[in-house]
Amino acid sequence: MTFTAPVLSYSLLSPMLFLLAGALIGVLVEAFVSKAARPAVQLTVTLGALLLALMQLWQIRGEQSLTAAMGSVVFDGPAALLQASILIIAMISVFLIADGEHFAALPAALPGSEEERQAIQSGNQITEVYPLTLFAVAGMLLFPVANDLITLFVALEMLSLPLYLMAGLSRRRRLASQEAALKYFLLGAFSSAFFLFGAAYLYGFSGSISFSGIRQGIVGGGGNDVLLLIGIAFLSIGLLFKVGAVPFHAWSPDVYQGAPTPVTAFMAAATKIAAFGAMLRIYYTVFANAQWSWTPVLSGIAIVTMLLGSLVAITQRDVKRMLAYSSIAHAGFLLSGVIALNKAGLDATIFYLFAYGIATVGAFAVVTLVRDSSGEVTDLNRWRGLGKRSPFAATSFALFLLAFAGIPLTSGFIGKFSIFSAAYESGAKGVVLAGVLSSAIAAFFYIRVIVLMFFTDATEDGTSVEIPSILTRATVVIAAVITVALGVYPAPLLNFITDLAIFIR
C-alpha cells in the first residue's frame, strides 16, 4: 500500500488558517496573559486575524480550484465573495462583542449569586468569546467552500458549537440566555442528525462522499431516485434549519432573544451567509440536475417562510424577537434566490446576503445602545419616543428597518429587486408574488416601530441611551453607510459580484 502525501494548497486555505491560528493564539492568551490585559489583546488578535484573512482573500479572489485540501475544499468566485462577506460582518460584529457589558462576568456562577456579584464588581470579562468567535468564523468560511459531505458536516458543527456556547453567555437575563443555548443546542443537534442521515443516503445513492461524485451520481444514476430524494430532503432539513426556514425556524426567535445581542447580530448575519452559501453551492452544483425534485418543495417552504415570518412579526412586542421573525421572512426571500437556480439568482443572493447581513448587524447594534439601569431594553413599548431622546439611534434604526422593508435607496430594495427578478426569471412567479405580499405585511411592523420611535411620546420609565462605546457607534455608522451606499449606487458591488460569482464544478 502506497501513501501519497496530501497536497493542501495552503494559499487558498489561508484565510481559514489565519483565523484558526488567531483562535489558538487567543486560547493561549487566556492562559498566559493577565486578566486586565486580556480584552485588549484578544480584540487585537481577533481583529488582526480577521483582517489578515480578509487581505489574503483579496489576494486570492480571482483564483479557482476544485482540489484545494485534496478536494475537500473548492475555491471559486462565490466562495471568495461569501467568505469576504462573512469576514466583514464578523469584523463589525466583533466591535459589538468588544463593547463589554454584554457577556456574563462569570458564566459558571449561579445567576444572582454572591459569586456573580463579586465577579461583576471585579470587572471580570470572559474573553474566551474572542477565540470562540474566531472558531465560528472559521467554520463559516469553511461551510460554503466544503466540497464533500465530511467537510460540510465538520464545518457545520464547527460554526455551530461556538454559537451554542456563546448564546448562553448573556450578562443580563441569564436564565433566558442559558435557555436559548439549550434550545439552540438541542434543536441544532437534532437537525444535524437529520443532516447526517441525509448525507448517508446521498452517499448510498452515489457511492461517493464528494460533491462531484454525488453530482455524477445524479447525472448518470442507474437506479431510481428514492435514496437521492431522501438524501436531498434530510440534508436540506439540516441546511434549512440553519437559515431558519419554516418549519425548521422555531429556534430562532427564542435564541435571538435570549442570546447576548452581539452574538445574535453575529449569528443572524454571518450564519445566514454561511448557510446560504453552502446551500447555493449544493443546490446550484450538486443537486442542479435533480431540480425537478426540490424546486417545488423549496418554493413551498420559501412561501410559507416569508408569510409566517412576516405575519408573526406583526404581533411581536420585543424588538429582538421582531427582528428574529423578520430574519425568518428574509430567509424566505433568500430562498427564492436559491430556487431561481440561475446566474442572476446567484448574484442576487450573494448581494442580498451581504446587504442584509450588514443591516442586521447594524440593527442589533442599535438594540445594544438602548438600555436602562438593568441592561438592554428590548420591550418595544419602551422604545417610545426614542427619536426624541436619541436621534442617532432612532434614525439609524429606522434606516435599517427601511432597508429590511425594501424601501428604495436602501440596500434592501436593490436586494429584493434583484432576488425577486431572478426568481421570476426562473418562472417562480408564485414565490415572487408571495414575496411581494409578505413584504407588504412586513412593512407594517417596520413602520410600527418607526412610529413608536418618532411619533409617540416617551413613557415615564426613562429608557436611556447609554453613550455608546466608540466601537458600537462605529458599527452602526459603518452599517448605515454601507446600507445607503448599496441602495444608492450598488453598481460597483453588483458588477464585482457578477464578474466573480461563477461556481466551478
Binding site: D347, G387, K388, L402, A405, I407, P408, L409, F413, I414, K416, F417, S418, F420, S421, Y424, E425, K429, V432, L433, V436, L437, S439, A440, A443, F444, I447, R448, V451, F454, F455, T456, Y489, P490, A491, L494, N495, T498
Partner: protein, 502 residues
C-alpha cells in the same frame, strides 16, 4: 445644460444649506427654503420656455448608466405631460412655504427639519415626473413616501401618526404590487433583447394578453391607490386631515398626481391592449369615484376631509379622462391635473388659515366669516368656485374637456359623471353657507383677516386659476400634442361626429 438634474439638485442644495444652520435660526431656515424654492421655480420656468411644444419625444434628455448589471439608467427626460406637472410642483412649493410660514412650529421636530423634508420632497417630485427609466421612477415613487410620511407624522395634527401609517401602508402595498410588475417587465425585457428599463424599449415588448393584463393591474392598482380611485381612497381623507395644510397641498396637489401621471405614462404606454381591456372597469370606478367622492364631501363634517373627498371626485374625472381615449378627454385630464393642483392648493391653504385661526377644523365651528374676515372668506369662496368648476375658472375648462371627450366615446359614463357637477355645487356651497354665511359664531368675532404674507402666497394661485380659466390656450398648446400622441400610440382616433346616426 442638464436642466432636469439641475432642477433636482437645487432643492437638495437648499436642504444642505438649511441643515447647516443652527436650530435656533428658524427664520433663516424659512427664508432659505423660500429662496431655494423660488430659484427652482425660476429655473423651471426657464426650462419651460425652452421646451419645444410640437415635439412629442422626451426632451432635456439625460442618461447615465446607474446599475449596468440590471440595465438600469439614471435617465431623465420630459414630455409635455411631465413638464406641466413639474411646473405645477415647483410653483406650489414656494406657495406652500410662504403660506405655511408657521406651520412647522407645532411639529415634533425642529423647524429646519421640516424645510429639509419639504425640499427633499421637491427634488423627488421633480424626479418622479422626469424619470424615463421605469426603475428610477419606481425608486423615487417609493422613496417619496418617506419625507411625506415624516411630514404628516411629525408636523401634522390630531391622529397624525395613525394617518401617516395608513398613508404609508397603502402606498407601500400599491408600490409592491407595482414592483412585481416591474420585475416581470425586467425579466421579459431580458428575454427579448437584453435587460432594460427604458420606457420606450419596454413599450415594444411582446407579451401575452394574460401577462399584459396582470402587469397592467400591478401598475394600475398602485396608481389607483396613489390617485386615489375608489375603492382605494380611504387613506386620503385621514392623511389630509392630519397633515399640515402645506403638506396636504403637496400631497393632493402633486403626489396624488403621480398616480394619474403614472396611468398615462406607464399603464397606457406599456400595456395598450390591457388598458383597453380594463377600460370599462376603470371607467366605472372613475364614475363611482366622482359621485361617491362628492357624496362623501357633502356628508363631511371636517373641512379638510371635505377637501380630500372633493379631490377623490376630481381624481375620478381625471381617471375617466385618461381612459376615455379621446384627445379632448386626454388633454382635459392632463390640464385637470395642473388645475386641480391650484384649486386644491387654494382651498387647502385658506382652510388651513381658517383652522389655525379658529383652532378647529370642524366646519360648524365657523360661521359668518364673511363679516369678520372678508378677504379670507372671499378667497375661500373663490377657491370653492374653482373646485366646483365654475366656467371662467381653470377647472371648468379641464372638467368640461374631460366630459365632452368622454361623451363622444362613452356617453353613459359622461352623463353619470356630469351629475357630479350638481353635487359639486352642494359640497362647496354647504360649507360656504355654514362657515362664511349666517350670523357670526361666538368665538369667531376676533379672528384676524389675511395678512400680507398670506395674501402674497394666495394671490398667484388665484391669479393662475382665473387666468387659465379664460385663457387656457398657452397650456393647452403644450399639452395637446402630447395628449394626442398618447391617443395615437394607443391606436385610437377621436370618434368622428356621428350626426346622430343620420
Amino acid at each position: 445644460m442638464k436642466w432636469l438634474t439641475l432642477l433636482m439638485l437645487l432643492p437638495l442644495a437648499g436642504a444642505a444649506i438649511i441643515s447647516m444652520l443652527p436650530k435656533s435660526m428658524e427664520k433663516a431656515a424659512k427664508q432659505a427654503a423660500l429662496g431655494t424654492s423660488l430659484v427652482v421655480m425660476a429655473a423651471t420656468i426657464a426650462m419651460v420656455v425652452r421646451f419645444q411644444r410640437d415635439n412629442v419625444d422626451f426632451q432635456f434628455v439625460e442618461k447615465y448608466s446607474w446599475i449596468p448589471s440590471f440595465g438600469i439608467n439614471y435617465a431623465l427626460g420630459v414630455d409635455a405631460i411631465a413638464l406641466v406637472l413639474i411646473l405645477l410642483s415647483t410653483i406650489l412649493v414656494p406657495v406652500v412655504v410662504l403660506a405655511g410660514w408657521n406651520e412647522a412650529h407645532g411639529g415634533r421636530w425642529s423647524v429646519k427639519t421640516f424645510y429639509i423634508l419639504i425640499l427633499v420632497l421637491e427634488t423627488m417630485m421633480i424626479g418622479v415626473f422626469a424619470a424615463t427609466d421605469v426603475f428610477l421612477f419606481y425608486v423615487i415613487f417609493e422613496a417619496m413616501l418617506i419625507p411625506v410620511y415624516f411630514l404628516i407624522g411629525g408636523y401634522g395634527t390630531g391622529e397624525r401618526a395613525a394617518a401617516a401609517v395608513k398613508f404609508l401602508i397603502y402606498s407601500l402595498v400599491g408600490g409592491l404590487l407595482m414592483l412585481a410588475s416591474v420585475i416581470a417587465l425586467y425579466v421579459m425585457s431580458g428575454a427579448q433583447g437584453g435587460h432594460t428599463f427604458d420606457i420606450n424599449k419596454l413599450s415594444e415588448l411582446q407579451m401575452s394578453s394574460t401577462t399584459q393584463n396582470l402587469l397592467f393591474l400591478g401598475f394600475f392598482i398602485a396608481f389607483a391607490i396613489k390617485a386615489p380611485v375608489w375603492p382605494f381612497h380611504t387613506w386620503l381623507p385621514d392623511a389630509a386631515k392630519s397633515a399640515t395644510p402645506g403638506t396636504s397641498v403637496l400631497l393632493l396637489g402633486v403626489l396624488d398626481k403621480v398616480g394619474t401621471y403614472g396611468m398615462i405614462r406607464f399603464c397606457l404606454t406599456l400595456f395598450p391592449e390591457a388598458s383597453e381591456t380594463f377600460t370599462p372597469i376603470i371607467l366605472v370606478l372613475a364614475v363611482i369615484s366622482i359621485i361617491y367622492g362628492a357624496f362623501l364631501a357633502i356628508g363631511a363634517k371636517d373641512i379638510k376631509r371635505l377637501i380630500a373627498y372633493t379631490s377623490i371626485s376630481h381624481f375620478g374625472f381625471i381617471t375617466m379622462g385618461i381612459f376615455a381615449m379621446t384627445s379632448q378627454a386626454q388633454s382635459g385630464a392632463i390640464l385637470y391635473m395642473f388645475n386641480h393642483g391650484f384649486s386644491t392648493a387654494a382651498l387647502f391653504l385658506v382652510a388651513g388659515w381658517m383652522i389655525s385661526r379658529r383652532g378647529s377644523s370642524t366646519i360648524s365651528d365657523f360661521g359668518g366669516l364673511q363679516r369678520v374676515t372678508p378677504i379670507m372668506a372671499w378667497t375661500f369662496f373663490l377657491a370653492g368656485l374653482s373646485s366646483l368648476a365654475l366656467p371662467g375658472l381653470s377647472s371648468f375648462v379641464s372638467e368640461f374637456l374631460v366630459l365632452v371627450g368622454t361623451f363622444t366615446r362613452y356617453p353613459v359614463h359622461a352623463i353619470i359623471a356630469t351629475f357630479g357637477i350638481v353635487l359639486a355645487a352642494l359640497y362647496i356651497l354647504i360649507p360656504v353657507q355654514i362657515a362664511l354665511h349666517g350670523p357670526t359664531t361666538p368665538g369667531n368675532e376676533e379672528l384676524k383677516d389675511l395678512n400680507l404674507r398670506e395674501k402674497l402666497a394666495i394671490a398667484p394661485v388665484i391669479a393662475i386659476i382665473v387666468v387659465l380659466g379664460f385663457y387656457p390656450a398657452p397650456l393647452l398648446k403644450v399639452i395637446n400634442p402630447a395628449a394626442s400622441h398618447v391617443i395615437t400610440q394607443m391606436g385610437f382616433t377621436d370618434p368622428a361626429p356621428t350626426n346622430g346616426g343620420k
